[in-house]
């Protein structure tokens, strides 16, 4: 009969023999970091994890084999965990880069002789300076972070290489031999950051979950470390120059220099321009600017020479108070450039954590060569894609109990060679409406016709033929207006001056007074923001 000491000694011998003769393996873990940002209260009990082995002894042997492999290959006694970063792709977090920050990691190990180790040292390959809780920006300190992306560019055939994103390393003291342990429990707490401060906190918050975990062998861990998902967008192809994924304020602890992109947000990285239209152009209409209202933003990526390498952005439809249908375009002047445009469209879909996008159709990709303008048709046929809810006359403009969250458009432009920032047309760029019923373009007051519509594959407008090339009427009124949040669309039929009493003095003083006229609506004549949140 074996005594425990004899048993553990036998297992230790077996472990060394196993390590010497067998490759270590990676294991998916059943428990996850939950949406609360923590592992379950009991922790992740590796000694009970069926994916690792069928008995406690077998599971401990597997952990020891991984530790021995790390010692053998890298000269470090450690366990490496893989984390599948699974955050909501909203705000500054995108499908191509998303992240969480780590508050604490603890591995509790109980040995057969009753000795307990509480290991609290850990590391990842990235950090960021972050403020926690409700603390101010001045309190920022460095924390380890985990970055990843939604989906993998390559299919390696390995669930660990394809599914998981970042590695989390826990050093193991040399004295600990897992074959002499009876319990090993992992606790992880993500950092509760003050995301009211914008980035970097907004990027590194946890907003979704669940984050899957794995125990990684050396090959899988090295692969993930080299690919650097969420940091580099093409890390799976070492033959290419690395391209930044666009994560903000990453402190990389890798030996190699990682590329970096600066971001200029128009109007900001999380805010939106609001633009409203009167679509009876060249007639003025009721001047409620809700015939179509659109929220959009544009982010310009700059390299370290302050040249533009990438432009990305998104748009959301807010109202359609019209019987006409329209296409909504965003036109960017670039003087000259070559590159690629990627576009995708989404409809909102409720799920347990709020609203997320359900992609409509395929992501489209097209190239442009020697282009002086990029004219993006973000939304085509608004009446079809943004219909009124049942019982309502229009979409989000009548007094109506039902609000509809509008579709979202996302684009990404990458340039083959960077262009000068001066080449890019000025913000807010040219958001324009093309009215399908009248073939009229409607632009902001100082913009010109989109002369390259047909070259971009769009229908030629009738503005020139009908002499409607100015977008201001004889009394000085525009047909499209830029508006700042928290402006909310007027209820159908209330003109801007009626729904916003400070609009008139703002205009009549040439903008010298009541600059923030849009924050003081007549509450009975605009849609209440607490009932209608268009952003998603």
């Amino acid at each position: 009969m074996f005594t425990p000491r004899v048993l553990t000694s036998f297992i230790a011998s077996a472990a060394l023999a196993y390590a010497a003769s067998s490759n270590a393996l990676s294991y998916s873990l059943t428990d996850k970091v939950q949406s609360s940002g923590s592992t379950p209260n009991s922790g992740i009990e590796l000694h009970l994890e069926d994916n690792i082995g069928t008995t406690v002894a077998a599971r401990m042997l597997a952990l020891e084999t991984l530790r021995q492999e790390a010692i053998s290959v890298e000269g470090e006694s450690k366990l490496v965990f893989g984390v599948d970063v699974n955050e909501a792709a909203s705000g500054t977090e995108k499908a191509e880069t998303q992240a969480v920050a780590l508050d604490s990691v603890r591995l509790d190990i109980t040995m057969a002789d009753g000795t307990v180790y509480n290991l609290t040292e850990f590391s990842t390959l990235t950090k960021s300076l972050l403020a926690t809780g409700n603390n101010g920006a001045e309190t920022r300190q460095d924390y380890y972070t985990l970055l990843g992306s939604a989906g993998s560019n390559s299919i390696t055939g390995s669930v660990f290489k394809d599914k998981f994103d970042s590695t989390l390393t826990v050093p193991i003291p040399e004295a600990i031999d897992f074959t002499q342990a009876v319990e090993a429990t992992l606790h992880i707490d993500f950092l509760d950051v003050n995301n009211k401060l914008g980035d970097p906190e907004a990027f590194y918050d946890f907003s979704n979950g669940f984050e899957d975990l794995a125990l990684l062998d050396d090959a899988d861990a090295r692969y993930l470390d080299n690919v650097a998902k969420g940091v580099i967008s093409n890390g799976d192809d070492p033959s290419q120059e690395p391209i930044s994924s666009g994560a903000p304020m990453v402190i990389s602890l890798r030996d190699n220099q990682v590329p970096y992109v600066e971001w200029l947000g128009y109007p900001s990285s999380t805010g939106y321009y609001l633009v409203g239209y009167e679509d009876l152009f060249p007639d003025l209409g009721d001047y409620d600017f809700n015939d179509l209202t659109v929220a959009y933003r544009v982010e310009v990526g700059l390299d370290l020479n302050s040249q533009v390498t990438q432009i990305r952005g998104e748009a959301i439809l807010i109202t359609r108070g019209a019987a006409y249908s329209h296409d909504w375009h965003l036109r960017l002047g670039i003087k000259s450039g070559n590159g690629k445009i990627t576009e995708s469209w989404y409809q909102p879909e409720e799920y347990e954590f709020g609203v997320r996008g359900r992609q409509v159709g395929e992501t489209t990709t097209r190239n442009f060569n020697n282009a002086s303008q990029i004219d993006l048709r973000a939304f085509a046929d608004t009446k079809a894609i943004f219909p009124a809810p049942e019982g309502c006359k229009f979409t989000n403009t009548p007094v109506c109990d039902t609000y509809v969250q509008g579709p979202k458009y996302i684009f990404n432009i990458t340039f083959n060679s960077p262009i000068d920032m001066d080449s890019l047309s000025a913000a807010p760029f040219d958001p324009y409406l093309y009215v399908l019923n009248t073939d009229q373009e409607i632009h902001l007051i100082n913009q010109t016709l989109a002369t390259q519509r047909t070259a971009m594959g769009y229908e030629k407008s009738q503005n020139e033929a009908k002499g409607t090339t100015s977008f201001v009427d004889e009394n000085g009124f525009p047909f499209a207006m830029m508006l700042a949040s928290p402006w909310m669309p007027p209820i159908e039929g209330y003109s801007m001056e009626v729904s916003y009493p400070d609009f008139t003095p703002y205009v009549e003083t040439r903008g010298a007074s009541k600059k923030d006229w849009y924050i003081r609506p007549d509450g009975t004549k605009v849609h209440p923001s607490e009932r209608f949140t268009w952003q998603w």
Partner: protein
């Protein structure tokens, strides 16, 4: 020259009321390019107020400003910074960049005209010593 507009006159003299004219259903139809739908919508409170529009007023609620700043010289290590403005009840990030101590930068920002200041937050981290530094500057527009 100051121009004058009577909204009442506009409402009486033009298409009356909402965009694209009148009655709508959720049925998707091919746009009729010859006969705009001019059925009057529910315009219960048409405006009758006068507004005098100054000549060439652009109605823009945003302005573009070149913002020049110098990265503090006493920061060490990797220096990230951001320019942020506060509106709509939120701190909004206008520019996120990276530079070096003493560097002068100029960027064009496009912000609501109602905004009268922005803040620049510098975050430095020295990997060798593990030291973090944070500096915040308020800049009046």
């Amino acid at each position: 020259m100051r121009l004058k507009l009577l909204f009442a006159a506009i409402l009486a003299g033009s298409m009356i009321a909402c965009g694209g004219g009148g009655t709508e259903t959720t049925t998707i139809v091919t746009p009729d390019k010859t006969t705009p739908d001019t059925t009057a919508p529910d315009t219960t409170n048409p405006s009758i107020t006068e507004i005098e529009v100054p000549q060439d007023f652009d109605f823009s609620n945003f302005q573009t400003l070149p913002l020049t700043f110098t990265v503090p010289g006493d920061l060490v290590g990797q220096i990230d910074y951001k320019i942020a403005g506060s509106w709509n009840g939120q701190l909004q990030d206008l520019y996120i960049g990276r530079g070096f101590a003493g560097q002068e930068r100029t960027v064009d920002i496009n912000i609501p005209t109602a905004l009268d200041s922005v803040r620049i937050e510098y975050m430095a981290f020295d990997k060798a010593s593990g030291t973090a530094q944070v500096k915040i500057e308020e800049v009046n527009i």
